[in-house]
Amino acid sequence: MLLTSKNYFRGIWLLLLIIVAGCAETKALRESYYTPETEKCINCHSKKGISKSAVRDWKLSLHAAKKIGCNECHIPIEAASEILATASACTDKNVRRTVSPKNCLTSKCHLEQGKQFDKSKHARAWNVVVDMAKSHELTGGEQGCEGCHRIGKDEEKCDSCHTRHRFSTAWARRPETCEMCHRGAEHSETEMYMNSKHGSVYRLESHTWNWFRKTEEWYGGPFEAWSKSPRTAVCVTCHMHNGNHAIASSWGILAVPLVLVDGDEEWFGYRKTILKGLGVLDEKGKPTGRQDIIDAGILSELPRVEWLEQREEMVRICTQCHTKTYVTEKFKNADNIMKASDALMAEAVSIVEDLYNSKVLSQKRPFPAHGDILRFYEVDTPIEQMLYRMLFSQRMRNFQGIYHIVPEYQQWYGWKEMKIELEKIRSEAEKLRSEKQ
């Protein structure tokens, strides 16, 4: 009777439980990754029940395997003066909750990544918020603008992509890592990518891919029939080629570089009008005092040679799978759509500028002398709201939709919406003028 199948299985469970429970937390296993300093922290944290699950995450990390414990990160090194100045809630007053990148970027550990990051657009993200805070009522701390732009705060926040306390490289390679910031209103890159053909392939096959492999090794052997190698591009394939943390692209975030592309003066003219609307160029086309914005990385002011370099680098990435003629043709088409949409945008900017010049709209803000699209939604009139939406939602979708190869975004959320918005701006301007008379 005792050996019914039910009891038999229970017996096995029990036996395993005893064996494994004995082994699991033995000193031998613990010592393999605890240093004495770390053990002190963990003992106290588990006794007091403070953020214990974070400790477990750390145990699963490569840090633990390499004996990089709590103290290496949470005791700021001398160079991390801004973190040292903050208060500590720990009984050990050397400990800080916030980790300074200075600790991460020592020559022993991640110096190379730090140097690359400093050159990236991400490193300038925080300056943008500081600048915007002068003209905007910002709310929410890390739940608001800061939540994403913190990536450039205190120089850089590695955990924006490498989530605490596992700091996994493998997970950071996946597009879900970029998703929290790169989506929605102004920059729906995730929605675009996930709905593109690249994204479809990702969603269907990605669970079989080897994310632990370095990006530079993904496409190493082109004829290697190794199904675990990604079959499609993800965010890092194009934007962090070879794991390079210096993220940049030829167009920059707003796609208004002050460079002549393909010798096209007409197109450069449209871009200059848009830059006037952004308050970066004055009426005569001379740079205004808004250099800080350019420095902050909103606008890319790359010299032409760099613009070309970035484009050539991208073409090289694409040609790992596609032919060069196909890729060049795609970029040519994309550039043509950009020019067409810039023509619409420039017309809209000019309409609003004319309203200011003819005093139909009165200047309520000190700077600049015409509308200011960089004020975003903090404007006084519906027509300026329309202009803001046209530039920051619709033109962005049109532009990013082309380069992320998502016809739906480019056409229906981008181009079509721009056309409608321009029509609205035209008729609102007429209405304003007739009201004035």
Binding site: S51, A65, R97, Q143
Partner: protein
């Protein structure tokens, strides 16, 4: 990794796998063996199989824990005596006239007594009554309410004293399935409460997306963090919906702020001013500052925390959950900042309500027969004047996004879909009001 260590880790994982296996793989194992049927259930199964009526749902049931525990068709589909009148009085298409298609939670209660009672004290249980009490529900096509096609499709969770299958899908009624955030997705999505979008694109959600398939869903939530230091990749590393909203598996789902983020007790005088304006906009408060009957219907005592103590105890519970992973001061300040977001939003909201109310007071907006001569936010989109539609969008779409985005730690929703839109709404309401006044002159 050293071979010895790898072996040890493999053993730990195996051990955990076995532990979880006890519950989770049970059904699959049993499926092979003959499912024991009571005489009554046997008759149902045979008839349904012969006639080919909803035969697939029988297979679902065979895979359920119900089948293992010999709970058959009759235990659920023959309503017990104290089942709701609506179910008892319903007609049946079955040959056996005592059978009902809809199942009453009174039947479920015979086994799941704690869960059913917890549910009854939570917000979900109010969902149907709230829907029926809305001032414009009668103006909707009834297929959207009684027919459960629109509003009713989600609010049914509170219908006939509760619909367990809103989360535990038929006929498997899996607890493991209901623990995953996708279980909440079909209702908590879009328009006025995009919690799914917020969560799934927050850092918590990204971790779930990447690692979630490895986690042990068959384990009870109460047991998820009982071994917090155990180095195991199958313990959930990020919270899912139930981690915070159903801690320990408690079915009485409620939060400090409630659905609309309107708390009754308020120490901050300035904020109380804004909130009272919103209360008036919702018809929860009269001009003299007295709470109305409507308030009692929509924010009933006991279901919604009305006192400062109840609010604080909800907050303390939440902080306790956060501190399983985060530091105390970090958790506290993060939630405090989210409170501040609500205050900022309420300031804009109150200003917008005053503007529209002013238009009514000065006779700029003509009185509409169907509703009171002031703002009534509870009418939602059933309003006559475009400016009121704008006010509705500001309140139910953008304010909700700003505040829920802040608590679900999703900067994009808080800032771009919430705060930025509210700012634009207010500007547009101001401009429209100005134009309306100018036209009247």
């Amino acid at each position: 990794m050293k071979p010895k260590k790898m072996w040890m880790e493999a053993l730990v994982c195996f051990y955990l796998f076995m532990l979880t296996g006890c519950e989770g793989y049970g059904p699959y194992r049993r499926e092979i063996a003959e499912v024991k049927l009571t005489a009554k259930a046997k008759a149902c199964v045979e008839c349904h199989r012969t006639k080919g009526i909803s035969a697939i749902s029988l297979r679902d049931w065979e895979l359920s824990a119900h089948a293992i525990n010999e709970v058959g068709c009759d235990q659920c589909h023959l309503p017990v005596e104290d089942a709701s009148k609506a179910i008892l009085d319903a007609s049946t298409a079955c040959d056996d006239k005592s059978v009902r298609r809809s199942v009453s939670p009174r039947n479920c209660e015979k086994c799941h007594v704690d869960q059913v009672r917890q549910f009854a004290s939570g917000k979900h249980a109010m969902a149907w009554d709230i829907l029926k009490a809305m001032p414009t529900t009668k103006e909707q096509p009834q297929v959207l309410i009684e027919g459960e096609k629109g509003c009713g499709g989600c609010h049914r969770i509170g219908r006939d004293e509760g619909k367990c299958d809103s989360c535990h899908t038929r006929h498997r009624f899996s607890a493991a399935e209901a623990r995953r955030p996708e279980a909440c997705q079909s209702c908590h999505i879009g328009h006025d409460h995009p919690q799914w979008e917020m969560y799934s694109t927050s850092k918590h959600g990204s971790i779930y997306a990447v690692e979630g398939q490895n986690w042990y869903w068959n384990k009870r939530i109460a047991e998820w963090y009982t071994m917090p230091l155990l180095k195991s990749p199958i313990i959930p590393r990020a919270p899912v919906c139930i981690t915070c909203h159903m801690p320990d598996g408690n079915h009485a789902v409620k939060t400090s702020w409630g659905f609309w983020a309107l708390r009754l007790s308020e120490k901050d005088g300035e904020w109380r001013g804004y909130r009272n304006t919103i209360f008036r906009g919702l018809g929860f408060m009269d001009k003299e500052g007295n709470l109305t009957e409507r308030f009692k219907v929509f924010m009933p005592e006991g279901k919604v925390g009305l006192t400062a103590e109840e609010w604080q105890s909800g907050r303390d519970k939440m902080i306790k959950i956060c501190t399983k992973c985060h530091a105390y001061d970090y958790s506290k300040t993060t939630l405090d900042k989210a409170d501040e977001v609500i205050k900022s939003c309420d300031k804009l909201m109150a200003e917008a309500i005053e503007i529209v109310d002013g238009l009514y007071e000065d006779g700029i907006l003509p009185k509409v027969e169907a509703y009171p001569p002031h703002t009534d936010l509870l009418r939602y989109y059933e309003v006559k004047h475009p400016i009121e539609l704008h006010l509705y969008t500001m309140f139910l779409v953008h304010r909700m996004r700003a505040y829920q985005g802040a608590f679900h730690i999703n900067p994009n929703y808080q800032q771009w879909y919430g705060w930025a839109e509210m700012k634009m709404d207010l500007q547009e309401i101001k401009n429209t009001a100005e134009r309306l006044r100018a036209e009247k002159r």
